[in-house]
């Protein structure tokens, strides 16, 4: 793949943190689809990875309209010239430290954000005047130490200093590497990052440097995911609490990391003209993490319903003859704890006790968490459900869909589950826990969408009884199954059509009028 050509700006620069084209996953396949289905748009990829190891081989082959690929690794060792402090005579670092001071001790979020740009401007100015300022300066300068000492007094006076010292070093290191990469940002007419975090911050930096609009799409909520990770991390020193104090919450060092990611989120959101999430529920989280409500927009994942036409026809023909000898309830997904398959099995027992025709098919890979799968299998055996609850392993979803009467999902946590859209396309009603986008999918999001009807039922998480009752209600009659299935199909056709969703991104990419509000607002801020 080519390095970026400054003379030929791309239409869109994608900022990709730990995802396309090197890492497999939902976000990556979505990205690949957009890139592939918009051949008239040129893309420059800007990949942020942890270490070079992560980017040995591409999991997706980018199409020819991807004109460049830049890689940055945030956890690679710094080169020596970055570790050695540049001599003070080389530059005037006072401006940088003044800006840093304003940043660390800002009284309010707005002031901190302004100070962040102040720091970047100061660094750019050092460079513009022929000077140098390295990470080594931050490591060794007395001015940096004085800032650290003051920050310690202010934010962590009672903490183990050696841990605070190292924590501050390592909190800053990847941010520094990411910011240094700002010089390598390819020129583009628009910047689009698919997360907040380091990539989101760089997106905001890029948009500001190149005076281009900036768009964020979040599948999960990055800040929230990082906070969950940090809370459970064992590599961060958690000082033992001297008293039993439940109000204390997380240790100061975990808080430091959380503050970092919260801030990266704020910078990202503040710089973006539009912030897109997959479903309504996530927009609330984005607001909570600092996004301005009027810039939010929902663009769900899409599907091509036509691909399920055959399955739909076959199923409708079957149900037209009434309920069969078997009523098939399908679970499609990985057998892992987050899907809470155990609740599903417990619910199955109740359903089968009340409706002997019910049969459960568990479709999907079982090798990701073998222990959990084994526990599930034993549960089935112990409950004597071996005949009625079957693990089928991975299957072709389009083929199996016509055989299902209901699709069941008991996940503890979800984003926008593609499987529900696939079930809808195949005319299969869904019973799902009330997490992620499930409510919007099954009951509808907008008023017009809700008016279509209900394509299934919602249940409480970890509740076998609730789940069983919902399933029993849905499978009460063939008629019910057909009506709800039709609602799902209609919803998928009207609101989740792949082509329309790609079209919305085409619109974003080619017509930048959506950014006018933001551009004028930013202009006012600047003046």
């Amino acid at each position: 793949m080519n390095p970026p050509d400054p003379g030929r700006p791309a239409d869109v620069c994608l900022l990709l943190e730990g995802t396309y084209p090197y890492v497999q996953g939902g976000v990556s396949s979505w990205m690949h689809q957009i890139v592939t289905e918009l051949p008239e748009v040129t893309f420059a990829l800007f990949f942020l990875g942890s270490t070079r190891d992560q980017a040995r081989e591409k999991k997706y082959q980018p199409p020819p309209n991807v004109i460049s690929l830049t890689e940055v690794f945030l956890f690679e060792q710094l080169p020596l010239e970055e570790l050695a402090p540049a001599p003070v005579s080389d530059t005037d670092p006072r401006r940088v430290y003044g800006a840093l001071q304003a940043f660390y001790f800002a009284a309010a979020d707005d002031a901190r954000l302004a100070a962040f740009w102040g720091v970047l401007d100061a660094l750019d100015r050092v460079e513009a005047t022929g000077g140098r300022f390295t990470f080594g300066n931050l490591l060794h300068d007395e001015a940096a130490w004085n800032l650290l000492a003051r920050a310690t007094e202010e934010y962590a006076p009672d903490q183990s200093f050696i841990d605070f010292f190292w924590a501050t070093r390592f909190v800053h290191l990847p941010v520094w590497i990411a910011l240094q990469a700002r010089r390598r940002l390819p020129a583009a007419r628009l910047y689009h990052s698919v997360s907040t975090g380091y990539a989101g911050m760089l997106g905001a930096v890029a948009a500001r440097r190149h005076g281009a609009p900036y768009l964020i799409t979040e599948h999960g909520i990055y800040t929230k995911e990082r906070i969950a990770e940090i809370s459970q991390a064992t590599w961060i020193y958690d000082p033992p609490s001297r008293y039993f104090d439940v109000t204390e919450g997380l240790g100061a060092f975990k808080q430091l990391w959380i503050d970092l990611f919260m801030f990266l989120g704020e910078v990202s959101y503040a710089g973006a003209g539009r912030i897109i999430s997959l479903f309504e529920g996530n927009t609330h989280l984005q607001v909570e993490y600092g996004a301005e409500a009027r810039r939010l927009e929902v663009i769900p994942n899409g599907i091509d319903p036509a691909k399920f036409d055959a399955a739909l026809a076959k199923r409708n023909a079957r149900l037209a003859r009434g309920l069969g000898d078997e009523i098939v309830i399908g679970f499609i997904g990985r057998v892992v704890p987050i899907k809470d398959v155990k609740t599903l099995i417990r619910a199955a027992r109740t359903v089968i006790a009340r409706e002997p025709r019910a049969v459960f098919q568990l479709i999907g890979p079982t090798d990701e968490d073998p222990d959990y799968f084994e526990e599930c299998r034993q549960m089935v055996t112990l409950m004597g459900l071996g005949q009625k609850v079957r693990f089928l392993g991975p299957q072709n979803v389009r083929e199996i869909m016509s055989g299902l009467d209901v699709c069941l999902l008991t996940s503890i946590s979800e984003g926008l589950p593609l499987i529900i859209l696939e079930a809808f396309a195949g005319g299969v009603p869904c019973v799902a826990t009330d997490v992620g986008a499930c409510r919007e999918l099954i009951f509808g999001r907008t008023a017009a969408d809700k008016a279509i009807g209900r394509a299934g039922l919602l249940t409480k998480i970890c509740s076998p009884i609730d789940t069983a009752e919902a399933v029993l209600r849905v499978i009460a009659s063939a008629e019910n199954l057909l009506t709800m299935g039709q609602v799902g199909r209609t919803r998928a056709e009207r609101h989740y059509r792949q082509t329309e969703i790609i079209g919305r991104y085409r619109q974003f990419y080619t017509d930048h009028r959506w950014n006018q509000d933001h551009a004028t607002a930013a202009g006012k801020e600047g003046s």
């Binding site: 730990g18 270490t51 956890f75 130490w145 183990s160 190292w166 599948h219 995911e225």
Partner: protein
């Protein structure tokens, strides 16, 4: 889900404090080092010999010993500090088995070089009976070896054993020198002295063997330290030069000096008064070493313990202030004791030196150098602190200034007249104090900053 999450685990684990708290044996070595021993020996020897009245022959013996002490100390200065650093690192790295082989190698080195230098000098440039020439060369070898051994003695806990060694060694030296002088003249005196020094060396090696002893072959691994620790080696040289340089200058360039035998010169007007004034260091050294050991070193250890064992920045800073307070208290204590001793001796100088048979010029030199010794003790205290704080380059600058000022002002004094004698040494110590105070202040002020920021980002 997009995002890299954390790959820091590997980086963060096992990240604590590298280095820092080391048993810097040479801190104590500088304070109580071989030079004190040599000065005391010379003062006692000089006085005893002067009283004995048989000046002529014995003069050669005394002057030869003076030369041997002066040159052996200057020559082994760098090696002393290098070996002490090597031994300290070995102990810190929990490899005490490396210590004894380095001693053996160090001894082999100085014995070899001492033999070459001693034989060349005494046979080539000092007309005297062959027994004297060979015995003197032997004394140069053995005394140099003793300075090397003394490095390791600072790490030996059993102080009384060390004292017994010296009592035994010098006892044998004096007795044998006296006994052998009857039949063999000054050759016998030197041979007797050599015998005692040899006993002392063996006793020292035995004590060190008891502490670190493993049967092991000599290892010259420490030689690499000369490359890695140039400033430290430089300190050893400059520091001993600073203490001694005024004496040879007086031997060679003073109008009052005379040739004793061949290349051996003496300047009795200067030498005896200077050696005598060095006797006054005892109270100051004792007091300072005591406060250093009990309060300063304690706070110093506590400082690094807090750094490593998760102290808060407030606690760390507080301990540093306590360290500074302990240092100030120690210096004040030193000023009091050493000041009182010096003052008393300055006032009692005239009758005291008259009783020893010394004249008015010598009294003046004695008074001036008494003040010089007082200042030297203060300088030593500050230098010790610089070593504790690992400010080796700063220490080198101080020591170099000490040596250079001594050289320059002594030469200037020799060009003027007797009233300026001894001022070189005193002015050098004063200059060194001023510089060292600045460095200590700075080092203390920046202690936590340097302690932390010197930690490398990647191990």
């Amino acid at each position: 889900m997009a995002g890299i999450g954390f790959q820091l685990t590997r980086l963060m684990q096992k990240r604590t404090f590298a280095g820092g708290l080391q048993a810097y044996g040479y801190a104590a070595l500088i304070g109580s080092g071989p030079w004190v021993l040599s000065m005391v020996t010379l003062a006692v020897l000089g006085t005893v010999l002067a009283r004995a009245g048989r000046a002529g022959d014995l003069d050669v013996f005394f002057v030869a010993v003076t030369h041997i002490f002066a040159f052996s100390l200057i020559a082994t200065g760098p090696l002393q500090l290098i070996l002490s650093r090597y031994a300290a690192d070995a102990v810190f790295a929990r490899k005490p088995e490396l210590v004894f082989p380095s001693l053996l190698a160090g001894l082999a080195l100085v014995l070899g070089l001492g033999a070459a230098g001693g034989l060349t000098f005494f046979i080539g440039f000092v007309p005297a009976p062959p027994l004297f020439q060979f015995a003197a060369a032997g004394v140069l070898m053995v005394v140099s070896a003793i300075w090397v051994g003394a490095v390791y003695l600072t790490a030996v806990r059993d102080y009384s054993a060390v004292l017994r060694c010296f009592a035994l060694g010098y006892g044998v030296s004096f007795l044998a020198a006296w006994a052998l002088s009857r039949g063999w003249g000054i050759g016998g005196t030197m041979a007797g002295f050599l015998l005692g020094q040899l006993v002392l060396l063996l006793a020292i090696v035995r004590v060190i063997f008891a502490e670190f002893g493993r049967a092991a072959a000599p290892s010259f691994a420490f030689l690499a330290y000369f490359k890695q620790h140039r400033a430290l080696a430089g300190c050893g040289l400059a520091y001993n030069l600073g203490i001694w340089i005024d004496k040879p200058l007086h031997w060679w360039f003073s109008p009052h000096s005379h040739r004793v035998a061949g290349a051996l010169w003496a300047s009795p007007l200067y030498d005896q008064a200077v050696f005598l004034s060095f006797l006054s260091v005892a109270p100051g050294m004792a007091v300072f070493l005591l406060t250093l050991e009990t309060t300063f070193a304690g706070r110093y250890t506590e400082f690094f313990r807090l750094v490593v064992e998760k102290g808060t920045l407030g606690e760390i800073k507080r301990t540093k202030l306590e360290m500074a307070a302990a240092l100030r208290a120690g210096l004040v204590q030193l000023l009091k004791f050493q000041g009182a001793t010096t003052l008393a001796l300055v006032f009692a100088a005239a009758p005291l030196l008259e009783a020893l048979g010394l004249g008015a010029v010598q009294t003046l030199v004695f008074q001036v150098t008494l003040i010089g010794v007082f200042l030297l003790v203060l300088f030593l205290a500050l230098l010790t602190v610089l070593f504790y704080l690992n400010r080796i380059t700063d220490a080198l600058i101080c020591c170099t200034a000490f040596a250079v000022v001594n050289l320059a002002v002594t030469v200037a004094g020799l060009m003027l007249d007797e009233r300026w004698y001894g001022l070189g040494f005193t002015a050098a110590a004063a200059t060194a104090i001023v510089i060292a105070t600045g460095f200590v202040n700075r080092a203390m002020h920046r202690l936590e900053y340097e302690t932390f920021t010197s930690q490398p980002l990647y191990p």
